[in-house]
């Protein structure tokens, strides 16, 4: 059912970075597109938005978000995390399963789904755990999660690798029954016991236990072969090495049904930053070398890597204000993703805004099987639309973010691009760069889909 979300006439926005056009948003859909649309064509009160100089894009879809609720509400809640998402230009996020309790039952995924609707800032699509308790021993009830109101299609033990090859094979096979996908956190556990940072020149000097690239690449190599063998769909989370890009490119050339994601931080930052021993740069998989960064950018540009996923991972300050080895792994990312991708991919000439729409929205929605997201900006389509000012410049200040996490590795950096407006189902969750109001679900408190 469509709530009354008002009528908005967006004038002169550059559609996917192309020719300027007008978009009339009414009743949750894009009612009309064209040039010189008249506000009088509508009987409603029309809010006119002058979008000259702004780029109109489909609402971004994150395939990889940690919202921390239930269990770690001191780090983030669905409410605060989805506020951050809306401000960052997102209209949908996939909430990873490593909550407490783990999202490994229909009950937990429905709880997260309901919390998402109660918040109303974006579509919250829970990711189901592959194994019970992320323990890697026994399949969780994947079918029950798929059939639940949360309609889970993506399954992941993210944070932990499904390293048992037989269990991984079974998971890949089983999700075929409901068109699911297994999103693998590729990390060979024995090769990374106690690992603290990328293994290489910098770790040798710093005396921090190394996380070798081969620990990621060997799992990806195994998994693409398994996906081919059982004819299933594999998604590789947060690809971080040049070698991984090569393996995925090889797999795609062979027609293997694999998709891959890269995080904004792996597109920009390198392990040189670890020399500071500041745990804000501690993340899993770790920051790699400049050669890896360049290979990831090239892979994203040529389609080997399908999507940008933030791996938004907020942590309370005490988990970062400590020794490197004691610190939690992870970085916030929802409110900086657009800017970092603009900086690393568009301003370098590697991608256009149309490509940006593909890697941050269209392809991500396809992986998660979100029918209403990542759609073209055309009449009749759901009005999940953002307006971006590509000329804006801003300095990252974690204390001015909506996320509860202060662990942004981009702190103090000047970045390009600013989300001016986010329309979620035709309702502006963000206007003038500020949080507006959540989507007015008629049934949000009842939690009924």
């Amino acid at each position: 059912m469509a709530a009354n979300t008002g009528t908005y006439l967006i004038r002169g926005a550059s559609i996917l970075g192309g020719e300027p056009a007008d978009l009339l948003i009414r009743d949750g859909v894009i009612a009309e597109t064209g040039t010189g649309l008249s506000a009088e064509s509508s009987v409603d009160d029309v809010t006119v938005i002058d979008a000259a100089g702004l780029v109109a894009l489909p609402g971004m879809v994150d395939v990889h978000t940690h919202l921390r609720e239930p269990g770690r509400e001191d780090a983030e809640t669905v409410e605060t995390g989805t506020r951050a998402a809306a401000l960052g230009g997102y209209t949908a996020v996939h909430a990873m399963a490593n909550s407490t309790p783990v999202a490994d039952t229909a009950g937990v995924v429905e709880q997260v789904y309901t919390l998402g609707r109660a918040a109303g800032w974006v579509d919250v699509r829970p990711v189901g755990a592959v194994t019970v308790g992320l323990a890697g021993e026994q399949l969780a009830e994947l079918g029950a999660m798929a059939d639940s109101r949360a309609r889970v299609r993506m399954f992941s033990d993210d944070g932990i690798c499904v390293h048992d090859p037989v269990l991984m094979r079974r998971a890949l096979e089983y999700v075929k029954a409901f068109d699911g996908v297994v999103a693998q956190h590729a990390q060979e556990p024995r090769l990374t016991a106690g690992a603290q940072m990328n293994e290489g020149e910098v770790s040798a000097v710093l005396g921090l236990a190394g996380w070798p690239a081969v620990a990621e690449e060997s799992i990806i190599a195994r998994d693409v072969l398994l996906a081919q063998h059982v004819g299933s769909r594999l998604h590789v989370c947060h690809v971080s090495t040049a070698g991984s890009v090569e393996i995925i490119r090889w797999a795609k050339e062979r027609g293997i049904n694999v998709t891959a994601e890269v995080t904004p931080h792996h597109l920009l930052l390198t392990d040189d930053l670890v020399r500071s021993y500041d745990p804000v740069f501690k993340v899993n998989p770790p920051l790699r070398t400049d050669a890896d960064v360049q290979a990831l950018r090239a892979g994203l540009a040529d389609g080997t890597i399908d999507v940008v996923g933030t791996d938004h991972a907020p942590h309370p300050s005490e988990h970062k204000e400590c020794e490197w080895a004691q610190a939690a792994m992870g970085m916030t990312g929802l409110e900086t993703a657009l800017s970092v991708v603009q900086h690393t991919m568009i301003e370098t000439g590697l991608m256009t805004w149309a490509d940006f729409a593909r890697v941050t929205s269209t392809a991500a929605a396809k992986i998660g099987r979100l029918a209403d997201q990542g759609r073209p900006l055309e009449a009749g389509e759901p009005a999940n639309v953002i307006l971006v000012d590509p000329a804006a410049r801003w300095t990252v200040d974690p204390f001015r973010m909506a996320t509860m996490g202060r662990n942004s590795p981009f702190k103090g950096r000047e970045l390009p691009g600013k989300v001016v407006a986010t329309f979620f189902k035709g309702h502006p969750t963000v206007l003038d760069g500020e949080l507006n109001t959540p989507y007015p679900y008629a049934d949000a408190t009842a939690g009924v889909a």
């Binding site: 293994e199 290489g200 910098v202 770790s203 005396g207 021993y277 204000e321 400590c322 490197w324």
Partner: protein
Amino acid sequence: MKHLLSTENLSLANAIRILDTAEEMAAVGDREVKKLPALRGRTVVNLFFEDSTRTRISFEAAAKRLSADVINFAAKGSSVSKGESLKDTAQTLSAMGADAVVIRHWASGAPHRLAATDWIDAAVINAGDGTHEHPTQALLDAFTMRRHWARLAGTGSEGADLKGMRVAIAGDVLHSRVARSNVWLLRTLGAEVTLVAPPTLLPIGVEKWPCKVSYDMDDTLEQGVDAVMMLRVQGERMNASFFPSTREYSRRWGFDDNRLKALDTLGMKDTIIMHPGPMNRGLEISAAAADSPRSTVLAQVRNGVSVRMAALYLLLSGDTREPAATPALAYAGTHSTKESN
């Protein structure tokens, strides 16, 4: 210098200044009254998150010889073992008015965190952090080598570097903070370093270090070497497949009696044998080697106090400028040239 965190970024001028100051401090150790008033009224905290009696008492002796007040804070059995964070511990020490914190920590980079944050505004001395660095150990090793090298040259130590000295560092380089600190400092002082280790105990990336790498102890000795530094090998590495057995390790990479004899056979009468201690006799070093006249093990311990006095003095005396020339301590008297090997 505000802190002494590593030797990687220690300039030649500062390294020489510490070593020269240590020579002057050594003279104090030879007096009947082994005490200077230099740090009277200053508070030095030994903050040890990892057991190390040797290093702690060396720093304690150094601080006391400079008349500082010394507080020993062992993390075991304290609030730290009850979950208090490094930040809270540092802020507590700051509130108590610590002027210098000598920190030993199992986590690489912990001293850098103390120095880089606003948790505490004291001088920080790294007394060994994880598998990262142990700068005062490297300085006392360099001090020991410099005296030896200067004596062979028939000159004084003061102002001297280690140009031309060939040093082999053998053993578990991967897990050794001593090896790392020595590689950087010896490079700065002009020595030629060769690391000798099984390939499993060398870090990925070692090829970028300013030294040579060898898997062959005998070959390294035959090439000629002026100092051999043996690193401690932990028996538990064996269980993690770094090497097949302690006996095989000892045969291939240990400094055993045959290699001790080889020094004589090869005509290297002035080559010294070093070890940071504690030694595993019979594993990385034989008893005969450890007790031979070539061994500098006890001199290293003695020199450790002088070097740590110098570090504490220079950090707390308020002179944080780069030295223009070798400084002199007005009250320390003439420096000792007595070699104590």
